[in-house]
Amino acid sequence: MDAGWRRVAAWMVVAGFLTLTGGAGVLDAVAPARGPQLTSIDRAARRVERATADIASGARMRVIDRDLQEHSNVRFLLTPWYLAHVLLPLREGGSGVVVGRDGWLFLESRITPRDGAHHPDHAALAANTLTAIDRRLLALGLDPVLVPVPRKGTVATRFLPDGADLRPGFEQALTRRLREGGIPFVDVAHLWRDVDPALTWLRHDTHWSSYGRWLAMEQAVRQLGRLVDPALRSSPAEHDVTAPVPRELLKTLGIPLEHPVFDTIPHDSLPGPLVTDEDIAGLSTADPPLVVIGTSFTAHDDVTREVSHLVDGLALNLGRQGEHLGRTLHDALRDGLPEGADVIVEVPTFQLQLQGFRGRGLHRHKESMLEPLTLTDPPAWHPLDVELLTPSRDVWTLPARLLGTSGDGVVSIVLSGRPEGARRLTAVLATDGTRLAVEWPEDRDSVSLPIITPSPGSEFLRVTLEGARPGHDVRVRVATELDLENATPLPGARAVGDGGRWHDDRSLPPGALAGRHVSVWVELPERGAGVDPRIELLGPGGARHLVSDVPLRLDGTALMRVAAPPGAWSTLRLSGAGPRPVRPITVRLVDVPAR
């Protein structure tokens, strides 16, 4: 390169660099790009965050960093384009999305179960949960049929990425146990066995296609003994194949719907809406009321428009717009479930498998309050006042550390007081994965916000009150804090390793578990010790009973309810993989009286 060209190139490089950096800065200041879509709760939380972030700790700067990052024009214009162009040729996902064959997208957490999710007893626990749901609804005079939703990867197997670790044995074991237990359910995987998975699942989405949902719904309705008009038994070929299909996983990846590159990504040509209003009318008339409890069904009006009740309570992390629980569960249960209704309960299997979910998602109204429909005997939570909030502000957040989240329990946040002078006061609660909003009528002294316990590792929750006018005076108590003062500490030896796994045995006082409702509170001193932890009971003659895989939180704490089968259990064993904890583990038996 001669000197002249070198000079020109140098000028161009310098000018280009300064334009890219300085120009972007000016543009972002003058016309910031649209940031991510936030729920009203997130917006409220951000307002509070901005108002409270201080400079000394650097919190204020991190807020600025995040705002600049989110509203960067470079990010808005370049990144989706970049993502789209590495998505298919390089099969590169990100944000928890894995790219499979033929460009199919899968949520990584649903095809890579966390450690401990494959324990042999896991399917049994899940089956017990579904059995409990079935029994509870029967006891309420309702007639349920369960629809365990298989994971996308267990159906769309030919599109899975290399090395996928699905272990479909879980679903198979679950359905086998349900069949053995006589629990009415729809075996979706079996139902779809002869159908091309490209017709029943969406390539760039986590949900079933309309056709897949129709097949499951039709089967469920048949199993409830309802009539199905033979004319409704459609094949996908008879329907519109040009209808747009949802592609939420592209948005999850970071390619927003409004970006020009979104539509350049090839997507499915799947059957469009299959079920008309007339179809639905044909399904449900002259039959008992039909209640659908679930997620995918409820997300698609073509299936659920005409059902008499809609409950979305079993998959709280999946709701649309972040506030679905308040919209569906709260509203749908306001008047209670109708006597003698047919009920279809959709339960995502991945939740049963991955999150230690035990089915505490159903609630009912009682004395104007939402109350969990207890499926197993839960611990009675000891309420504990945690903080008196400033009465003069209409929006605030309450940071709180959740203790006592049991993995199968319900967190109840109780707001008590008189929201005098406030109009349309709404109490909203947000955790890592769950958001709930309830209206607070002026004539009520308290409201309760029940949620499924956040996933292990969720360490914060926010309670926000939104109202048209300030002036309420509210106390907040978190009804999940266990009274650990009265718990019985279990002294024990230090954890010992035995090649790959460590264990720590605690002697149980005689009769400690007999006929009592007991929970075990565990505090592991180090994060690293929390790989695949388990609690087992040991008895004479080598008897052994797995209490559970422990859903440890990031801070190394866990609370497990001990459901001990009859027997003389003498030892409680806590074990885990990886390096043993160096410092002592705290274990306490929490004696919780039955309700």
């Binding site: 390169m1 060209w5 190139a9 140098a10 000028w11 490089v13 310098v14 280009g16 660099f17 300064l18 890219l20 950096t21 300085g22 972007a24 800065g25 972002d28 400079i55 000394a56 700790s57 650097g58 700067m61 600025i64 960093d65 600049l68 990052q69 960067s72 470079v74 990010r75 370049l78 990144t79 384009w81 970049y82 993502l83 590495v86 040729p89 390089l90 099969r91 590169e92 990100g94 894995v98 990584e108 095809i111 890579t112 990425p161 290399d162 090395g163 996928a164 670790d165 970071g254 230090r494 790959g500 690293g528 790989v531 993989a577 990886g578 390096p579 160096v582 410092r583 002592p584």
Partner: protein, 464 residues
């Protein structure tokens, strides 16, 4: 503030460069010092005080030592004050947690109640700026450099944001003249932009991409042999591209402001022995340890045994400088053992009889094994991974799903090209080929797009 962040790239850098070039020449060091305080304070403003303490103490110590020397004295108490302050800060903030944790493990093993302790937060870059200020007072004490005249110049030297938090460790006498007088030319600025772009691309497009792979492997208690090798190789590339990328950016930013900062890497993975590796890797640290530790210990002047011991001590402390953990000590010991072994047979590798290319490959493998010690969380973890690499796999090991993807292949491929085939950054800057200039202009938007996708991954060397 991170170089690879929207705040730095779109707000701080253009605003700072504007302010810097609008400032009259004689006040530019002041602008740089103030800008550097904003840069550092962005993370934790309260830790600015620490840096200020270190600056004031060493400036005072240097001036006093200079005065004492002018009067025929040596000013040893002032040197000791500087040593105590800097090593005290480093010791408390960097090693107190490690010391207490080690003590507690010992106590627990003896069934004694552990000491209650609240962890200390490590101020970013403290290892670098304390070493820099130390080198200044030691040099003044030795008489190899005169004390700095203006406080602003010294403040600028200590806080200079391009190299403040992750090096290179710039010794005072390297930049003394530039602090007082430096030239600002279009050519320098152009070189600076190129170096910065090269660093940005190295960091974001190679180090961050391969870092995800390494993280997956090192997080597992048991892995298969192929996964273990993948993880170790990914980390070997990650640490080089992360650190040399940061150094390139630092050098580039320095050039934009008229400074020529010292080179920190010179194609280390092309070395044919570990001795040569340490002449090419983190050069500013190697030379610092040589001049302020190895030589004062006697270097190679006191017989072979003492030379070996000095080498071992220097590398052990060098390992500990990187982090307060036994894995870093083990890494230092491993490097020291190799250096001693090579010195025993005449400063060459035991495989020096092999063809040159094979020597490079074997030295690379030795480095890879060393990085496993460096990266692992525990010595047991490092042992397990090394065993897996050697084929001794734990029974619970299973292949990690979706570990190796095409994007990693691309990153490895481009990385290997840069490591073994491309000219080093400093050679590129001397006479940049048009092809590389064009390549960097294409890589920069890609890096920015990826940066926004990955949400700012911090540099590895921030933690040291």
């Amino acid at each position: 503030m991170l170089f690879a962040s929207a705040t730095f790239l779109y707000a701080f850098l253009p605003a700072f460069l504007g302010a810097y070039y609008l400032t009259p020449r004689r006040f530019r060091s002041l602008t740089l010092a103030l800008g550097s305080y904003v840069f550092y304070g962005w993370w934790r403003p309260d830790f600015l005080l620490l840096m200020l303490v270190s600056t004031v103490v060493d400036f005072t110590a240097g001036s006093r030592i200079g005065s004492e020397r002018a009067r025929g004295g040596r000013g040893k108490p002032w040197l000791l004050l500087s040593l105590a302050t800097n090593l005290g800060l480093l010791g408390y903030f960097k090693y107190a947690n490690f010391g207490v944790e080690t003590l507690n493990e010992l106590l627990v093993s003896m069934d004694v109640e552990p000491v209650a302790w609240t962890s200390v937060v490590l101020p970013v870059g403290i290892s670098f700026y304390t070493f820099q200020t130390l080198s200044y007072t030691v040099d003044v004490y030795r008489g190899t450099t005169p004390p700095v005249g203006r406080f602003i110049d010294f403040m600028c030297y200590v806080a200079m944001f391009p190299q403040l938090v992750a090096g290179p460790i710039v010794r005072y006498n390297t930049v003394a003249d530039q602090l007082a007088e430096r030239t600002h030319t279009r050519g320098k600025f152009f070189q600076g932009v190129l170096a910065f772009q090269a660093g940005l691309a190295k960091k974001i497009l190679i180090a961050d991409v391969l870092g995800t792979l390494a993280d997956e492997v090192f997080a597992r208690p048991a892995v298969t042999t192929p996964d273990a090798w993948l993880g170790a190789l990914a980390y070997t590339f990650q640490i080089y591209f992360d650190f040399s990328g940061y150094s390139d950016m630092a050098i580039g930013l320095g050039l934009m402001m008229g400074f020529r900062l010292p080179v920190n890497f010179d194609g280390p993975y092309r070395s044919r022995s570990i001795t040569e590796f340490w002449r090419r890797w983190h050069i500013s640290l190697s030379t610092f340890l040589r001049d302020y530790l190895y030589l004062p210990l006697g270097g190679n002047r006191r017989g072979p045994l003492r030379t070996y011991a000095n080498l071992a001590v220097v590398m052990l402390l060098g390992g500990l400088w990187h982090g307060a953990a036994w894995t870093f000590v083990a890494w230092g010991a491993y490097q020291g053992a190799w250096l001693v072994a090579e010195r025993l047979i005449g400063k060459r590798a035991p495989y020096a009889f092999l063809p040159s290319a094979l020597q490079v490959v074997l030295t690379f493998v030795v480095a890879v094994a060393g990085w496993v010690l460096f990266r692992a969380e525990t010595l047991v973890g490092a042992g397990n991974l090394l065993a897996a690499m050697a084929g001794d796999v734990m029974p619970s090991a299973a292949p990690i799903p979706y570990l190796f993807r095409p994007v990693h292949l691309v990153a490895f491929g481009v990385g290997a090209l840069v490591v073994w085939n491309a000219p080093t950054t400093q050679r590129l800057l001397r006479a940049p080929p048009l092809a590389w200039v064009v390549f960097l202009q294409l890589a920069t938007p890609l890096a920015l797009a990826h940066m926004h996708h990955e949400q700012n991954v911090p540099f590895l060397y921030f933690q040291f």
